[in-house]
């Protein structure tokens, strides 16, 4: 019974290979330290790397992670010397105080506009990696008030010698890390809270409380660090409803219901009082002009996280030759973010590193310019942004009689190098002007006519 069905498979075999030579050059831009790692790896692989950081020096890229590095030597090992190594690396051209403003073009032929200090400069490159740190958007569920800080500000604000926060004399006596109020997918805050908590306890004797819905331990060696934290006197509570944070006597007060308490003894409301600092897990998002650059590249952006949340795009974006890393891909703890960034660097190297590529000019779509009404449907629908309107067609629906010889008209044109042959444009084109060369409509229509 099964297996005797009439099946029309996609015609395989024929291909028209075309040599494409791509100059192995990459721009790595952004303020996340993972960018430094990507730049170093790619430079070691012989790719000409231009590293753009929005700060005057590379150290300032690593600076916000100083506290985590001193609390967790795996992060220290990762970040400590990388800024040093990258600033000496021969294969990396460093451009400081630079931020991407506009990107156009294709894999192997991008033109990038960057604002450097005050003026705008244009660069040409074959591939782009954007390693962005998210900036705090808001503290979900927690009213903004004095003494309540997002993690980002707390971690970059502590003075490593005195343990004090900016504008304070000595280190805070009691700190509450309030996790999972908003985002439950992210575990970077739990890991940072535990490891920085132990550091504060050991170095400055701070009494640390950690409040969470679920304690995130799914990071390497985290279970053992969690037990060490508990043994060193850090108190961990689990709550159900988001705790109330308000002005209390002698500092902030946090009131919550203990999820782990035995409810048969009646309501289990716990109040923590006289707190110097409440560090809440913030929602991270992208700045407006970075989001604009991603939108221009047709890279979908969903609540501050770039790239379609789609398993098919692990470490890469639909725009061939562009990868995203750091918080812009997904807010993660630095060690996890490093792995994600390097897997994105591998994707980028595959497209840009080898120099010459074989592109199959047969397994792509093709536009018949004489039928194209330049309605831009294909340009808008193409997931890989591989179609543009150019002036090359001899005939066009809009010409009137008496057009002079050799005149050319606007029509859509497929960029063979970045077309994946998915056929969306061909199926959407209202003028039936686009066909997949390897799988024209006739094949399907004939099969239907014969078999029905």
């Amino acid at each position: 019974m099964s297996g005797q069905q009439a099946v029309l498979r996609i015609p395989a075999g024929t291909s028209e290979l075309k040599e494409v030579s791509i100059q192995p050059s990459v721009i790595v831009a952004g303020d996340h330290p993972a960018g430094l790692l990507m730049a170093e790896h790619l430079a070691d692989l012989g790719v000409a790397v231009t590293l753009m950081v929005p700060f005057p020096t590379l150290e300032e890229v690593v600076a916000p992670y100083r506290v985590i590095a001193s609390a967790d030597e795996s992060v220290a090992g990762l970040l400590q010397e990388v800024a040093e190594r990258v600033s000496q690396h021969a294969g990396i051209t460093r451009v400081t105080q630079a931020d991407l403003v506009d990107i156009s073009g294709w894999w192997g032929d991008f033109s990038v506009q960057a604002r450097i200090g005050e003026d705008l400069k244009t660069f040409h490159t074959s591939g782009i990696a954007m390693a962005y740190r998210g900036n705090p958007v808001d503290l979900p569920g927690i009213p903004v008030q004095e003494g309540v800080l997002p993690f980002t500000d707390f971690l970059s604000g502590i003075n490593l010698q005195t343990g004090a926060l900016a504008g304070k004399a000595e280190s805070p006596k009691q700190v509450v890390f309030l996790l999972d109020a908003g985002e439950r997918d992210e575990k970077w805050a739990s890991v940072a809270a535990i490891r920085v908590g132990v550091f504060l306890k050991r170095k400055f004797g701070t009494q640390v409380f950690i409040l969470c819905r679920e304690l995130k331990v799914s990071v390497d060696e985290m279970e053992q660090d969690y037990r060490a934290a508990r043994e060193s006197g850090i108190i961990v509570f689990k709550y159900r409803q988001t705790p109330r944070v308000e002005k209390g006597s002698g500092g902030l007060r946090v009131v919550f219901e203990d999820a782990a308490a035995i409810s048969s003894h009646g309501p289990s409301e716990i109040t923590l009082d006289a707190l110097d600092v409440v560090v809440a897990q913030e929602r991270l998002g992208l700045s407006e002009d970075r989001a604009e650059v991603l939108r221009k590249l047709r890279i979908p952006l969903e609540d501050g996280v770039a790239g379609p949340n789609n398993p098919q795009f692990t470490g890469r974006t639909p725009k061939k030759g562009v990868v995203v890393a750091g918080d812009a891909w997904f807010p993660e703890y630095p060690t996890d973010a490093a792995m994600t960034a390097l897997s994105a660097a591998q994707e980028l190297y595959k497209w840009v590193g080898k120099g010459t590529y074989q592109v199959d000019a047969y397994r792509v779509a093709e536009v018949d310019p004489s039928k194209c009404a330049t309605c831009l449907t294909c340009f808008r629908i193409c997931p890989h942004d591989s179609i543009r309107v150019e002036r090359y067609g001899e005939r066009n629906v809009y010409i009137t009689q008496g057009a002079k010889e050799g005149a050319t008209w606007e029509a859509a044109r497929v960029k063979i190098e970045t077309c994946d042959g998915c056929g969306l444009c061909a199926s959407e084109c209202p003028a039936k002007a686009i066909q997949l060369i390897y799988y024209p409509d006739m094949e399907v229509l004939d099969f239907l006519a014969k078999n029905l």
């Binding site: 099964s2 069905q5 029309l8 969306l424 239907l448 029905l452």
Partner: protein, 129 residues
């Protein structure tokens, strides 16, 4: 009316529909002989023209097997396919045909069981209707 062995055209996306079909075949599940399978590079290539042409040529039903939402290798192929199917179902209803003749079925590569179930459900609707 619909014969015992209805002619069903299944447009299958190369990323999910075809592997599901092959998985169903490898599991030895029984699929109707009247099933015609057309492979497409993406669910999004199942044009409105193909779907209507299939019905025009005499198919009793048309099924589009594409990826689940948010799992399409070409980002929005499956969403486009579903929208076209819904558009045609409305049009069919207006010209006096049962909208069940065109159906959109999200599948995953390794879900041969589900593939066979969906085809069988379509056959039952056709014979039942």
């Amino acid at each position: 009316m619909v014969s015992k062995n209805p002619k069903i055209v299944a447009f299958c996306c190369e990323e999910s529909g075809m592997p599901a079909y092959e998985h169903a075949v490898s599991l030895g599940l029984d699929l109707p002989d009247g099933l015609k399978v057309v492979a497409l590079p993406c669910g999004g290539k199942a044009e409105t023209g193909y779907l209507m042409k299939a019905l025009d040529e005499g198919a009793d039903a048309v099924m589009v097997f594409a990826c689940y939402e948010g799992n399409c290798k070409y980002v929005r192929g499956n969403i486009r396919a579903e929208k076209r199917v819904n558009y045609l179902r409305e049009r069919l209803e207006k010209i006096g045909l049962s909208p069940e003749k065109i159906v959109f079925c999200p599948v995953a590569p390794a879900s041969g069981q589900r593939f066979a179930e969906l085809v069988q459900r379509e056959v039952d609707t056709l014979l039942g209707a």
